[in-house]
Amino acid sequence: MIPLSYYLVLSGILFACGVLGFLIKRNIITIFMSIELMLNGVNLSFVAFAAHWHALSGQVFVFFVMVVAAAEAAVGLAIIIAVYRTRETLNVDQVNLLKL
């Protein structure tokens, strides 16, 4: 028997790590990975609440989150490739112009 709050705390820690990475990282790919980390933290709380309330829809929602994450990763990485092709840098501080 594990208290539900432990799962929520773990998911909160993962989400906080994702937020922190989003703030302090300067590599655009690592920032993207921090977003995935936040999505994973949310997924854990979905599954924990599904087990707590005996509702399977929580686990189904995890699949939708995964689908959105996969679509986001595909489009986001394509955008990163396009950005790198025009600017030749991955540092977000140097990507500050909408149009070259």
């Binding site: 028997m1 087990a51 686990q59 699949f63 540092n91």
Partner: protein
């Protein structure tokens, strides 16, 4: 008791991977520690009885999505990230803010003792039950996500393809010698 020990072990591995993602400066190391986070999260899902979610977590997240990340890192030959003034300001403001917020959330959650416990395997998430739910009650969202994936595929292909591969509004030869050279190396205007 054993389940609590397993939870604490995999939770510690998870948090260690997440922290390692933050402190590593090379994107490849960050991606590999993110794989560690996802694998240990799959173990946590198994502890909760969500077997199918755990399998999908390993296959889709740790497999497909992370391979996409690693291929992009290798394709762009991403090196160490350089620290700048903006990153120092973000560190000074962001770290205390996130730590305070996280401690507040954790303190609130731990002191709410009426939330109850979760038994191991409390809700067996076998594929049959999930499929019944997914294809009956959530049929419309399921179909909408297929449209989303189709749009994502088209977007990724259009964005990542070389500019001259996309149909341009004004077809014709590049105007200047300089532009012709840029088009030849794939950096010309679309």
């Amino acid at each position: 008791m054993l389940t609590l020990a397993l939870f604490l072990f995999f939770g510690a591995v998870c948090v260690a991977g997440a922290v390692n993602l933050l402190v590593q400066s090379h994107p490849i190391n960050s991606a590999l520690s993110l794989i560690v986070v996802m694998a240990s999260l799959a173990a946590e899902y198994l502890l909760l009885g969500a077997e199918f979610v755990a399998a999908v977590q390993v296959i889709v997240y740790a497999g497909a999505i992370m391979v996409l990340f690693l291929i992009t890192i290798m394709l762009l030959n991403a090196g160490k990230e350089e620290r700048t003034k903006g990153s120092r300001v973000a560190t000074l403001l962001g770290v205390p803010g996130v730590v305070i917020g996280g401690v507040l959330v954790a303190w609130t959650l731990i002191h709410r003792s009426d939330m109850g416990n979760v038994a191991i395997g409390a809700l067996p998430g076998d594929p049959k039950a999930i499929a019944r739910l997914l294809f009956h009650e959530f049929l419309l969202p399921f179909e909408v996500t297929s449209v989303l994936i189709l749009i994502a595929i088209m977007g990724a292909v259009v964005l990542a393809s070389r500019p001259e591969a996309i149909a341009r509004p004004h077809p014709g030869v590049p105007a200047t010698q300089e532009e012709r050279k840029l088009v030849a190396v794939g950096k010309g205007r679309s």
